[in-house]
Amino acid sequence: MGLAVSIGKVTERYPFAPVEVPDDYRGKPVIDPGICTGCGACASACPPQAIQVKEEGEFRVVHLFLGRCIFCGRCQDVCPEGAIRLTTEFELATPNHDDLHQFVRLRMVRCVRCGRPFDTYRHLVRSLREVPFIEGERLLLCPECRAKAPLD
């Protein structure tokens, strides 16, 4: 095969030289803790349930575990704020387990009536964009208490 002579070697120099991937290559997802509202849409959409949203006292914790991630990018698709993005990083092997976990801790608002933490501050503020202006204390009521409270 004169083919071989004309082509030369196709072996790439990786790992001794970097490998190029397209800009929209689906690599490691990263949550921007400054944008995330803790709404949990990503967790619902994630097929392997690599993202879990839990409540720990005052905080809502969004936990992304790369060990389960399939790099599909559904989280990125559904996030209303664009807080989670897939980077092009694919060299994820590590001897350190902690590298595979990302935690975003978001402080929660307590209901002024029943005292239960019911939403993150950030999400509450964001949701004001969508709902009509709510006066005063009604804002700080959890959904159950708000439903029971008399309308002014």
Binding site: M1, L3, A4, G8, K9, T11
Partner: protein, 294 residues
Amino acid sequence: MMPELSTLVNVAFVVLFAPLLDGIERRVKARLQTRQGPPILQSWYDLIKLLKRPSIEPSGSFGWLFRLAPAVALSSVLLASTFVPSLLARSMGFWGDLIAFVYLLALASLFLALGGFASCNPYAQIGSHREISLLMAEEFSLAFIVAGLAVSAGGLAFSAMFPLPLKASSVVGVLAFAVMVYVSGARVPFDVAEAEPEIVEGPLIEFSGRSLGLMKLTAYVRRLLLFTVLLNFVIPFGGVLRSSVYVAALLVLSAVYAAFEAYFGRFRTADAVRFLKRFAAAGFVCWLLAVLGW
């Protein structure tokens, strides 16, 4: 230099250089496949790794034969390397050493096959079965070629045949021998016994660690010795020039044979045997020409 000392040098050379030739063959094949390929010393690295590891004997195998086979195989080829002039022209040759050479190499192949049978693994048994079939067919062709060359050279000792007189029978014989060297080295399309995807490395499947290392070294030495005999048939001079030409020619031969190998698919056993039987005709022609004095 005393024959004993030069023999020692030759044996050392053969053992050290053989894996290097394999490395060259692997590299050439890789480049023909547009790959980078392993470094030329890789076969040495692999051998060293294997020799450091323990051999595991399968339960249910014929332990004594399984352990004996690699030792006998390697000893046979090393013994052959004592009287085949390789790096240095002088060695301990004797009358009939050509025949001894052919049979020592056959003995090594035989013990490869026996080792396979001894492991009692069905794949090894199929592989050994194939190895024996191929061996018989090879010997048949080789017999004619050797006979022809002996008649042509006027003697059965290497000393008489290195180099061969320039005659028609020699030319035919050497070319035929060159083909046999290719076949005997278990190169594709003749690697029927070792067919990796079909029968998982055949006779060698149960060998591991040191035993596997010895078997592989045997195979490498065998190839080198066959090249050596072929080259000895044609290199007409001696001394340092001979040694340098010899080494250079070895490198070239390895590269050329590897290039050929990259081009073929594997034969079925029956097809390989058929080819060899037909090829015996070439050996017959050589013998006939030699007998006629040509």
